[in-house]
């Protein structure tokens, strides 16, 4: 199954007013990989994620998600593809009027007909999987800390055992220990569930620790490669990003040679 593309983007163009964000962007995301998406502010990382999910209509190009054309495919097929994806939004975006358990059960209620006790048990399983204590289940999102909200958001994203998980800045706003835990959690879940992970992040530690490949948004397009590939790239922004002082610290912690290729 390796090598099969679960997401295939060709010639994507996005613009807001006169500002062109993406122009002729191509991207393949392979099954089972962890892809990190990085880029400067305003380069359209979140727009790219929203476009793949069908939340944003681009000006041109094609987007295929799990073999379904997100832009022109029929509504039923697109909805089916969407249920095979899980999304963790930046601040969790939990439904504030529901408890954590009900949040995790929301996709099950919507798409499946499961008996109540089974849903309760599955929700408890998901909540434990993301490392939340059992008593977090009956709580409302307002009663949780930021880190716990992220975990609860991840539990909801994993509710239907998706094939592709999108994470928008999963470690932003977490303390370094919490962020490292979260990285480990994503990696563990990815290994045991075999999901494909697309992760928008600025956390260099996450990039170094868990990403198989990194997609860099520069000049309205994307350059995909491993960490070592990007190290050799002479583009000024990529140079500054992967050779800055923070990058050096993160990569030496991850056991990579900071000056590799330069």
């Amino acid at each position: 199954m390796a090598g099969e593309a679960v997401i295939r983007i060709r010639g994507l163009k996005n613009q807001f007013g006169r500002q062109v964000v993406h122009d002729g962007l191509d991207l393949d995301v392979l099954r089972g990989e962890v892809l990190g998406v990085v880029g400067g502010s305003g380069t359209g990382k979140s727009v790219l994620m929203r476009t793949i999910l069908g939340l944003n209509r681009p000006h041109g190009g094609t987007v295929e998600l799990l073999g379904v054309d997100v832009l022109r495919g029929d509504a039923e097929a697109r909805a089916a593809a969407q249920t095979r994806c899980g999304v963790l939004f930046q601040d969790g975006a939990l439904f504030s009027s529901l408890t954590v358990t009900e949040n995790v059960q929301a996709p099950m209620r919507e798409h499946l007909r499961l008996p109540r006790p089974l849903m309760d048990e599955l929700a408890a399983l998901k909540i434990a999987m993301v490392g939340l204590p059992p008593d977090a289940g009956p709580k409302r999102p307002g009663e949780l800390s930021g880190g716990m909200r992220k975990r609860a958001g991840l539990a909801r994203a994993l509710s239907l055992d998706p094939e592709v998980v999108f994470l928008d800045e999963p470690t932003a706003g977490l303390d370094p220990i919490g962020a490292a835990d979260f990285d480990q959690l994503i990696r563990d879940l990815q290994r045991s569930l075999g999901v494909t992970v697309v992760m928008v992040t600025h956390d260099l530690d996450s990039l170094a620790a868990i990403c198989d490949r990194i997609a860099v948004l520069v000049d309205k397009r994307i350059r995909v490669g491993t960490m070592a590939d990007h190290m050799r790239d002479m583009h000024p922004w990529i140079q500054a990003y992967f050779h800055g002082p923070r990058a050096r610290a993160a990569f030496s912690a991850a056991g990579m040679s900071p000056g590799e290729g330069s």
Binding site: S96, S97, T101, M108, L112, R113, L114, P115, L118, D120, E121, L122, A124, L125, K126, I127, A128, M129, P134, D135, A136, G137, P138, R140, P141, G142, L158, L160, D161, D188, L189, R191, S192, L193, G194
Partner: protein
């Protein structure tokens, strides 16, 4: 991926139970799989082998159900071994095994009668507390206003004019339309009834008194409570949710001074002006009705109106406007600051603000009526 649906079977071979499962075991088919698991009949076996080599696709829900099936045999006293798990499925099994059976603590059992009594008590205590907090909030607003009256520069003029524009100026069209129609309705209903007594001309007195003393100001206040009081609660409440209020306090800004005072003062200025508009247009509506459908001409109407619509009648209505404005502003801002949590709370508090401010406005109106009656006005 042409995978078959999930199945599970039990067979007996060489005195051993073999349970084999295959097909797709995912959350999509979980309901049927759970029934299949429940239909297994764990016999009195010592050794049970689970043969999973026919499984095609499994997710956490599937593993959970397979383990639930195994647990049924274990509870019947058997030793369960899994076979054919494979390298691909093993991490999933470990993940589920490490995390299952951690259901949240069951909520304590509730007795309906006790719960009802408890709820009654909570509602009462909450109501009293809310009233006390509202009074405290009025005190806080008054103190802040008094403190700032020494330093008029701190009364935020820009914010104040902005609020007057939004709560006052922008409300003029709807208020004009509403009171014009009310004037028409009152004149029509009054004329129909009074004509039978032969006092059609008294319609004008009735119109003047109802519009000027009561309906002009009351309807304007109710419209403003729905229009601006709710906006105050929603704005301030959303700011509370976004931690903007906390940020203000951390920067040494007093939310009462920055947010609440300009809004209340804006309403206290805008509502009397709107009331004047409402009074005039209400009378115009009545006049239009009178001229069109009664045997009264414009001159007669003006003369009679001049006698009925005295300055006292007008002032009796107008004097209530600042009080109503204060009630609407205070309740709207107070409920906004009481928002806690998320979107649901904003909606709840906005509803409460509108209901409570209209209720209090009507109570105040009744109090004014009693007061004016006692004064003989």
């Amino acid at each position: 991926m042409q995978d078959g649906p999930g199945w599970i079977r039990q067979a007996e071979a060489d005195g051993q139970f073999v349970v084999s499962a295959g097909g797709v075991w995912t959350v999509a088919g979980a309901a049927a799989l759970e029934r299949a698991v429940a239909a297994l009949a764990p016999g009195p076996a010592v050794q049970v082998r689970f043969d999973l080599s026919a499984l095609q696709h499994v997710d956490t829900a599937g593993v959970f159900l397979l383990r639930a099936a195994a647990r049924r045999y274990e509870e019947a006293g058997a030793d369960v071994t899994f076979e054919g798990v494979g390298a691909r499925m093993r991490p999933l099994f470990e993940l589920v095994a490490g995390n299952e059976g951690r259901a949240p603590p069951a909520a304590p059992r509730r007795y309906p009668l006790a719960a009802a009594i408890e709820r009654l008590g909570c509602t009462t205590v909450d109501g009293v507390r809310e009233l006390a907090a509202l009074v405290a909030f009025i005190g806080e607003v008054a103190l802040t206003a008094a403190r700032n009256s020494w330093r008029p520069r701190r009364l935020r003029i820009v914010s104040l004019t902005n609020q007057i524009e939004r709560a006052g100026l922008n409300a003029i069209p709807i208020i004009l339309l509403m009171t014009f129609l009310i004037g028409v309705v009152i004149a029509y209903q009054g004329a129909v009834q009074l004509r039978r007594l032969g006092f059609e001309i008294l319609t004008i007195d009735m119109l003047a008194i109802t519009i000027l003393r009561e309906l002009g100001v009351l309807l304007t206040a109710i419209m403003i409570a729905g229009r601006s009081g709710s906006a105050f609660t929603a704005e301030i409440g959303t700011m509370k949710v976004n931690e903007e209020i906390a940020a203000m306090q951390a920067l040494g800004l007093d939310p009462v001074e920055v947010l609440v005072l300009p809004r209340i003062i804006a309403l206290v200025i805008a509502l009397p002006i709107l009331t004047v508009f409402a009074d005039v247009v209400g009378l115009l509506g009545g006049a239009a009705m009178a001229v069109v459908s009664m045997n009264i001409n414009t001159t007669q109407f003006m003369v009679r109106l001049g006698e009925a619509a005295t300055l006292t009648q007008f002032m009796v209505g107008l004097v209530k406007a600042p009080v109503f404005a204060f009630i609407i502003g205070v309740v709207g801002c107070y409920q906004g600051l009481r928002v806690s949590g998320g979107a649901e709370s904003v909606g709840q508090m906005t509803t409460r603000a509108v209901v409570l401010s209209i209720f209090l406005v009507i109570i105040a109106d009744a109090a004014f009526s009693i007061m004016f009656a006692a004064m003989g006005i």
